[in-house]
Symmetry: C2
Subunit: 409 residues, 2 copies
Amino acid sequence: MSIEFTNDSPGISDVPGFRVGAAACDIRNKATDRLDLTLVVADQLCAAAGVFTTNDVKASPVRFCQQLLAVSADKIRGIVGNSGNANACTSEQGDIDAAVMAKLAAAAVGSPTDGFLVCSTGRIGELLPMAKVAEGIKVSASRLSRDAAEGVRSANAILTSDTRPKSVTARFKWQGRTVTVAGIAKGAGMIEPNMATMLAFVCTDASASPAELKAALKSSSDQSFNCVSVDGDMSTNDTVLLLASGASGVVVGAAAEPSLRQLFQEALDKVCFALAEKIVGDGEKITKVVAVEIEGARTRADAEKIARAIGNSLLVKSSWYGEDPNWGRLADAAGYARTGLDENKLDILYDDVPAVLGGKPLPENKPRWKQVVKAARFAVRLRLNLGDAKFRLLAADLTDGYVNYNKSE
Amino acid sequence: MSIEFTNDSPGISDVPGFRVGAAACDIRNKATDRLDLTLVVADQLCAAAGVFTTNDVKASPVRFCQQLLAVSADKIRGIVGNSGNANACTSEQGDIDAAVMAKLAAAAVGSPTDGFLVCSTGRIGELLPMAKVAEGIKVSASRLSRDAAEGVRSANAILTSDTRPKSVTARFKWQGRTVTVAGIAKGAGMIEPNMATMLAFVCTDASASPAELKAALKSSSDQSFNCVSVDGDMSTNDTVLLLASGASGVVVGAAAEPSLRQLFQEALDKVCFALAEKIVGDGEKITKVVAVEIEGARTRADAEKIARAIGNSLLVKSSWYGEDPNWGRLADAAGYARTGLDENKLDILYDDVPAVLGGKPLPENKPRWKQVVKAARFAVRLRLNLGDAKFRLLAADLTDGYVNYNKSE
């Protein structure tokens, strides 16, 4: 009973029971033919769950999804998503526009209920060009299919400053049937804890109740999307959605055998973690992905605080960019997380090379750390030697390119 | 009864009862003649107080100062400070070296007690070159004077990546006598709340007990050094010291008239605030100083959280650098401070130009904000309209220059 995993898969078109379509409707008002709208449509009404930004300022589509899932999470028909405009900080008109997007999507596919989740990403504070959005929904609906090419177009349509689409598929067998879990995501800037300007749509042909899907998705998100950081900025639009068509005929909910439930959770974990990794790896103008591994903390919360202090420190991130193994900045950031660190017990390692053991620097190892930090991916490990709790954060370096890219929009 | 304030003064040499000396002893091991050691010496044993980093990882000199002030804050002879090496994360040898610096300083000035506070700033994780430090202390002691030129040399000797010395003097008259409060500071990187790689030495010829000095210094620091942020990194070495020689014959402690006590506090506030402003204005490779003013919060703590979220947001700071009035990023950062913001009540202004009122964007004002953000100094103001509390943070932009400067040491 193993999981077959495909990186850079076509994405949601892999999942029986769903069709996708995408369109270029120039939401950015830049007269380009860039893909910027997508529909994900279930053949039947299906169960769904979502995990959302905890930002006080939530974009209209986030509020819309939360309300829809609160009342009819078992009657979801699909997702309508756009890039280029976040529909955030757009006041009542933004709420109206999100609701209209759902209605237009439902009408375009002839859905008897509204039942569409809405996701937007892009610039904050501007109203959506609704005539263009309406056209995009119509075109997307006319293209709905399970073709791999359309899957790839759909994965592309949600991107903003991403440089490449992000899609993965996991499959496993259960009693002769195949269960598929596939997802697409977008990331790039504002990537932080508890999500970011990130969207991820995950679909499966397994069957489960909304509450069961929610629990599974929450568990996967906490280990994946909530453990990555590009720049420490949490967005107004972060959304992860999970839709379950049930087309495989395999029920993975509470009534299922524990080994099946575990297999499904593992497949979902793999999909979410791979998408999260792709988001960090494609962070705006980054050159390094660094795993910040905190071990031996008194509590997981302490370990997380330290990991985030390190992963979000401008000085640390700059030094990663410069390939300078500056462990002093790691110790400094770990200290200002103020968890009651004991510097005399602290070990700091680059991959497996110790730079500090029990608070004592090992300068003789410097040539070896210098090698480690030249890699595009490496780990910085802090062992606090105070307890058994740990946390792992995937972080990125900070580059002059990031600053110049974000100077203006 | 007004306070006479001198910007870019000679610094501590202005204060009767203190002499200063500085030396270049090549602590950086770079064979330069850069000033890197200074002594501040009181003519008599005096009272002192300090405010220190709250980082879990405290440099040896910070711990040394805290211990010294705990037992003999009324018998302080002076300060020995160095730049180029922070004596942080240096284990037991670091503690020994800090204590030896104090003893060497005391011996060099023929002090009957040790009584020297020790401050170091610079690279973390390397042992001090103690032979050079000893030589620097000897040379500094031989130069002790109240000459303005030596005052300026002393202000220069504590700098690291600062581009200019920071020193100010405040004076006021009381019953025919002049009271002086003067200070020097260094800043540049790792400048954040609750201090940073910042040192500030403030001396006065007023007289007060250590406890009275501590209260006055704490109050001033909370309104100044703790309200600035360059990069969100709090250092292991942050220290603000206040020494009172009493040479003016004016007693400003608890027994003094309220109007005198207030005058002294104001003078100290002015000195600390001016030094804090200079620190932000000379942050590493910055081009803008932005006052983040949060008003109408339920509590000061809420206002501070929002101010710091904005002042430390990479996306916000990058947009300041680009002179892009991106209020959406301000709203986003304010939201992820998670204070229970109501976006429909939120006003956002650039100086006095509203960009958002009651959650509604005012795009027609855009040409006017565009003008505001072109200035080297401006304010972003968020009125939450939820209560009466406020907080003001002085922050800086983030530049490609900062990243490149901090790529390696």
